[in-house]
Amino acid sequence: MERAPGTAPDTASSDADRAAARRAGRRAGRITGGAQELDQRLADLLRGGLAAADRPGYGLWEETAARMVDAQAPGLAGRVRELGAIPDSGPGWPGRLLEECALLRLLDSAWLGRDRLPGPLAATVRTRVGLTSSAEGAAVRDRWLVLAQYDIPDGRIVTRRTWLYGRSSGRVSLLLSYGAPGRAPARALPVGTVVDAEVTSYPGGGGLRGELGPQFGEPLATTAPPPGGTTADALAAYGRALRDDPWLDAWPATLREVVPAPSGDGWQLVGAADGSALPVAPSALSRPGLWKLVALSGGGPLTVFGECGHRGFDPLAAWCAGTSEDEAPSAAVALT
């Protein structure tokens, strides 16, 4: 603490505020330095050609990512590190690498020009760069249906993602919590239950991320899936969400009456009514959840919740209608 001895207690908080503001200013300065450096490195890369990134022993990504960590911009560092995997991702990698380089440049130039951006977009940029913010929107009390919950190992920590659907508001909210490996990150909300609770959204990112506030009563089990739409609805929602956050890879969607069908080396979710289809995202093809989904369908239509984006549809939970008339629809089956 820098506070001088003898300072009156009532000025301590404003001192602390000033100190926090100074720290935030210093950090923003470092990030700006990092963003400028990143911009320069991307420009150099493009001048020489992306083909260089495919050569063995190419170390630019790791080194650049480390520079971004030094610049206290973990969001930029993470994106840079992901670029490193693209040259090994099979045919068509130059196009994908250009896409991600372009979006990275979009992000660092957005940071550098954030003063000219409208408030929500500026908030999105701050979050994407890696600044933490706090949930500050209005609290929405609703009966939230727990759609999916899964843990993603992320370096030394584990990120738990919980998807909620507000029965009355119709909103979908994503709760993120973090925990050390081997320890549960925050308490688990059972998939397929309904929780009466308040959820407050974080700024930016289309308001998707939320924070769970006070809960009223215990979670209740339910078998009713959220209302769903068509494959076209899911893609249209993703397209709309890109207006608020052009860096989004996917947006949550519930598909009604879709049938998993094999297609080439992969799988599709095909609308039973209109025959329109979304490819199952490559990341989901190797997960056991895909076969659960197929088994559950038995070739018939299901309601499927998942993330829909430019890589395809990543199924996270499914509901099937009862197999006979006197049977209730099945409870949600987690596919993660």
């Binding site: 020489g48 056991p288 038995g298 430019h310």
Partner: protein, 544 residues
């Protein structure tokens, strides 16, 4: 989707297709620059900005594709769903299989994987339908463990088979499916004939077995219809299917098979015929055997006189007697053994003044033939499934191993035991364990029905207790311990709980053995409790 985009970086529009952007980016803007509308070279920054616009615009404009052909829906499965608790239990058993606890020693926790077969058998007996979302884990389990396959495939039913058809990793299920649901209903004679005429070998074996179960005569007729055209090794397998449901009605067919071109087919036909005491072959063998084995009444007491055959003639060979003995055996005793084995056991009673099997095995046998004769009687008792003879040949369970009337071989004894009713079997093995301990009991326990009946369970537990008091380590008995976990009646758990404490170490005990024993008994008790819970869950009515 637009292939070109106007971007106005630095006020100058860049009109380029995505392919042009990728080419310039890949080769480098120094080497392959794009030109803006005003002819100025497009720098790396402008290129990236234009690419970002392309990327976001393309992503925002994504449209669904036209769907591929839908898979055929899975056939309906009318079985009732599992009770909710049983469904959770199955998920837990399967999860434990794919993620076994780390470390070699099992400690006090039950080995869930070992309980999967029992759970499947029990669920199958209740007639439940497998939960769809657990089918992938069930098929994975069956893929890894062939012993699980029959139960898993029966439980997985038509949807499991449907699913297996979509994943090459589960192809084994399709190969095995002829045992399962896709077999044509055997009440449909045309479909049966179709499959019999055109099916793969495995399908035909399975079909024959299924038909035989329902209607032995129909199975025989099916086989007779194509018999002449089957390959020798196939004839052998098909003939083997007649073993179940064997009756006098099969005799004519089998008698004809005695003239088969293949020696193995002939031998199997002879074996089957000799299991029919009323068959002509059995009578022929009886006649031959009784010329060799006779009562000897000289000197007051009756004994058994043996005169082994001097030749193996063509008629004997036609009836399945193998003329050439394995190396190290005399041919006359080899022939004798085969004759006695194939002769109906009833013939000895007639021959020896109405003596019972019990009395017959006690008669002295002349010239050192006792071993040969009794061994042949053992094989005959197993083949003819004759409990009286089996009982006589097993003798009292407490008789020392080497002095038994019939055979010292544990494998032969297991076979004899299998001909006895299950409670008698359990009592005999219980007596055996009480007299001889556990070290020789493993094979005999394997033929006892599960759960073990009271006296048998008590004998096993008492013997384990004695072994503990003797101070040896529990893993000397891990085979029997494992069996006990799976086979003891779950109701014994409470009585066993007293054994889970760590006792004072007796003098001369192996160091630390007491602790390991208490751990082993804890595992036994917790496994039994788990089995009781599993049974209770499966017995509940209805799903959630």
């Amino acid at each position: 989707m637009p292939t070109t985009v106007d971007a106005t970086t630095n006020g100058v529009p860049v009109n380029a297709s995505w392919e042009d952007l990728v080419t310039s980016a890949l080769l480098g803007t120094d080497r392959r620059p794009l030109r803006a509308e005003d002819g100025a070279p497009v720098g790396p920054g402008e290129l990236l900005d234009t690419a970002a616009l392309h990327t976001v615009r393309r992503r925002a404009a994504l449209r669904p594709a036209t769907g591929a052909a839908l898979p055929e829906p899975a056939p309906a499965d009318p079985r009732p769903p599992l009770p909710a608790a049983a469904r959770r239990r199955l998920a837990q058993l399967l999860a434990d299989r794919s993620a076994p606890p780390s470390g070699g020693r099992r400690g006090a926790a039950p080995d869930l994987t070992e309980l999967i077969p029992q759970w499947l058998a029990s669920a199958g007996a209740h007639g439940y339908r497998a939960p769809a979302e657990l089918l992938p884990a069930l098929l994975d389990a069956a893929r890894a463990r062939t012993d699980l396959r029959p139960h898993v495939l029966a439980f997985a039913g038509p949807r499991g088979l449907w699913l297996a058809g979509l994943n090459p990793e589960w192809r084994f299920a399709l190969r095995a499916s002829s045992r399962g649901a896709q077999r044509p209903g055997i009440e449909d004679p045309e479909a049966v004939h179709g499959l019999w005429e055109e099916g793969l070998f495995a399908e035909r074996v399975a079909l024959l077995g299924a038909v035989r179960e329902q209607d032995p005569g129909a199975a025989r007729a099916l086989l007779a219809g194509t018999w002449a055209t089957e390959r020798a090794e196939d004839r052998l397998m098909f003939l083997d299917s007649l073993r179940s449901g064997l009756s006098g009605a099969d005799e004519a067919f089998l008698e004809e098979a005695l003239a088969d071109r293949s020696r193995n087919v002939r031998a199997t036909a002879a074996e089957l015929l000799s299991a029919l005491p009323g068959s002509a072959l059995a009578r022929r063998m009886a006649a031959r055997a009784t010329t060799c084995v006779n009562p000897d009444r000289t000197g007051g007491a009756v004994s058994v006189a043996v005169e082994a055959p001097h030749e193996c003639d063509a008629a004997m060979q036609r009836d399945g007697v193998v003329p050439v003995p394995p190396s190290g055996r005399g041919e006359r005793s080899w022939w004798l053994g085969q004759l006695v084995e194939a002769a109906p056991l009833g013939v000895w009673r007639e021959r020896f003044d109405d003596r019972t099997a019990q009395e017959l095995v006690m008669l002295p046998v002349a010239d050192g033939w006792a071993g040969e004769l009794h061994a042949a009687w053992c094989r005959a008792a197993v083949r003819q499934r004759d409990p009286d003879w089996a009982r006589a040949l097993l003798g009292a369970p407490s008789t020392p191993l080497a002095n038994g009337p019939g055979t010292a071989s544990l494998a032969e004894r297991s076979k004899l035991l299998a001909t006895l009713p299950s409670s008698e079997r359990a009592l005999w093995v219980a007596g055996f364990i009480a007299a001889h301990g556990l070290s020789e009991a493993f094979q005999l326990l394997g033929v006892c029905s599960v759960p073990w009946e009271g006296p048998l369970g008590r004998a096993v537990v008492d013997a384990l207790d004695i072994a503990r008091d003797a101070g040896s380590y529990p893993w000397s008995f891990s085979g029997v311990m494992g069996l006990a976990e799976r086979c003891l009646n779950p109701a014994e758990a409470d009585r066993l709980a007293v054994l889970t404490t760590t006792p004072d170490e007796p003098e001369g005990a192996s160091p630390g053995a007491g602790g390991y024993w208490s751990e082993a008994f804890q595992r036994l008790v917790s496994t039994l409790r788990l089995r009781a819970a599993m049974d209770a869950e499966l017995a509940q009515d209805g799903a959630e």
